[in-house]
Symmetry: C2
Subunit: 406 residues, 2 copies
């Protein structure tokens, strides 16, 4: 295998969320009966069930029809007017002060922001800490930029009032020369929030060991049960030159089809991200950028209602899993549950293929979030409520067909 | 300077087209008078002067309102339905047969396609040939992927019926171990078409030396003076495993604000490009993908009319430059002219800043297309006809203020 083949071996996206249609599942042998039911794709949210704000498409059309050329061809980091408005909103949200000219970039989705942030901080041989489990692309990004991976365990199952990051392991990694720590908060896939004490310690360690923080806060607006959330960037000890925050309207706001993300923080890193964006995709789609005008400008009550509806779906799903004896931590924020099936006789990749064939349900295998999560699957429960409940019942039934002998 | 600083030094986009607003031009000293006139930004086309098809926005709105979730979340390489239609159109256009499932990917603009194609073929230490002059990002992409650059001179000024690539130098580079050759046809910035004999030789050399070809054909629909065009992929000797063609609707069709590109060819490379896209931006914006339905489906006569209008602007601009004694080759395809100012007393970067300050005109410095083009500037003449003519007159007047002493 040559260089490029082994590189792409590590990037393999065959089991990544959204790619299920391209999988071959002819080789899967079924036990028990096939279950009828409305198809549910838990690999991502359903923007038909939870629709974007109607204003979003109006802003797009305004960009196309009224603004025209200057909206089609923006500076690589985004149109100045949109940057200014978005910086104000993000400053208010995070409790900090973001300079729109120097500290903010608009990207093609938060995936685009993650790619640029890692590309702007990591080169060959650099040591990078990532939480495990965490978003499937994080480890791949480190491989792609030829960094050295330092996985740090997140003990999400055995805690309640904190995410459960192994802070001693984090310090050991930092001590060993890690220069960047990349993590999602709320965590994807576990749906847990880092406590203020955890953020405090992460900030303090990053200062002590001169580590850049890349914090993916994609789901930080969707908090359940009146939980509190700590923005790392607004921590009094945060070094603004050493922190990049990433967020966007693709999830709670259902604007994923527009591919919009933002990153803010260190001007040096944001500037590099723009240089990189110039050769990666030039800019986030011009007309699409205008849709950010609807973000953080939702009508009163809209966000509360959206969160409440998701909390209700979450509650029903958690109850079903727990009644069936399947281990799952309560989602504190975001739309993911990450149940652990202790007695499954097949690995999670096979189980996911079985679920697609036998239960008309798509889920994402746990191993996308870390190699050790062979007995877990991730579900995005931003779905039609009843369809989601029915689909989870089918998952539980099928899991029953594939139990280890006691 | 550490690794990442020196890497980003080479990616510097401060003088790249579209970034002029972020430049500091306070340090520019002016000779002669400032010229009044309507602002023209020759760094890109004006989609207000040459508008997209009205149907394009209808397809977007259909994606958002009627198709919904399945259009928002497509497979990384694009929605199957759109891939199928687009493969048919591109097959007819290029005279070949493109398998929509295996040989085609939709990307965020052709920039996205270029990035993925180079990323899928070049790793550290690989030798890559690029034409000079050529598109500004090509050399940066090679630097970014840590390839070794082999520039091959394109003698565009001294030929008429061919582009003027130095085929002996190309063979020497191939002999020296080049594994990828990346070039635009029609050439950006020179606006010239590779002759069928040149394509013939490039194909033959690539077969002989086992070199992958990445051909950026972004402007291949906009041919002037009934010129003929040779698609490398449909050459009878082309090795389908060794060639990637890139194109999209951002230029002639004025759909740049949607960020849509396509790449087609080698299934192995297209597959890698999809794996890479999964960590770069996930996919081209979902709703935007639907706009490809309008591409190659323009009403009868629409494309002829568009080309004719551009040919008329080109003719007036060429006449003005030539009357002023400025060397410029006739644009054979696309919307670029690349005039050479033989007696300018300032370099092209300074001259570009002067033009912005003194003539209310944005142009792109020649050095963006190769380090030796210090006395050339690139203009995209897809502008309002009269405004473009007036702006070129201002450029010529200002050039007169900055002549070398004879």
């Amino acid at each position: 295998m040559n260089h490029i083949e082994s590189l792409f071996e590590k990037l393999n996206a065959d089991n990544a969320p959204g790619q299920e249609k391209r999988q071959n599942k002819n080789d899967i042998e079924i036990k028990g009966e096939s279950l009828e039911g409305i198809f549910v794709d838990f690999s991502h949210g359903d923007v038909d069930a939870h629709q974007p704000l109607p204003e979003s498409i109006d802003y797009f059309n305004e960009g196309f029809s009224e603004i025209g050329s200057s909206q089609a061809y923006t500076e690589y980091r985004g149109l100045s007017e949109i940057l200014t408005e978005t910086a104000e909103k993000l400053s208010a949200f995070t409790g900090t002060n973001i300079n729109p000219e120097e500290e903010l970039i608009i990207t093609p989705g938060t995936q685009g922001a993650l790619f640029l942030a890692v590309g702007a901080t990591v080169t060959r041989g650099d040591k990078v800490a990532v939480a495990e489990p965490d978003y499937f692309a994080n480890r791949k990004l480190v491989h792609f930029f030829q960094g050295e991976l330092y996985p740090v365990h997140l003990d999400y199952l055995n805690h309640n009032e904190k995410a459960g990051l192994d802070l001693s392991a984090l310090e050991a990694a930092f001590k060993d020369g890690v220069s960047t720590f990349l993590f999602s908060n709320p965590n994807n896939p576990a749906g847990v929030i880092y406590s203020s004490e955890e953020i405090d310690r992460i900030i303090s360690l990053s200062n002590q060991y001169d580590v850049t923080l890349i914090v993916d806060q994609l789901y930080s607006r969707q908090l359940f049960d009146q939980r509190s959330y700590t923005h790392a960037i607004s921590h009094p000890d945060a070094d603004r030159e050493k922190i990049i925050t990433i967020t966007g309207p693709s999830k709670t706001e259902s604007l994923s089809g527009f591919r919009l993300g933002t990153a803010f923080g260190s001007p040096v890193i944001i500037n590099r991200m723009e240089q990189l964006q110039a050769i990666v995709s030039l800019r986030a789609s011009g007309y699409n950028q205008r849709v950010l005008k609807s973000w953080f400008s939702e009508p009163d009550g809209w966000m509360d209602e959206r969160i409440l509806k998701h909390q209700e779906i979450r509650d029903d799903i958690l109850t079903l899993f727990r009644e069936a004896g399947i281990t799952v931590r309560t989602t504190e924020a975001g739309s993911y549950v990450f149940p652990k099936f202790d007695v499954l006789s097949v690995d999670c990749i096979t189980f996911s293929k079985i679920l697609r064939k036998q239960a008309n349900v798509v889920v994402t295998p746990g191993t996308e979030f870390g190699p050790e999560f062979t007995d877990s699957i991730r579900l995005n429960f931003s779905q039609d409520h009843q369809n989601a409940v029915d689909a989870v019942k089918r998952i539980i039934t099928v899991a029953g067909y594939y139990q280890n002998e006691p």
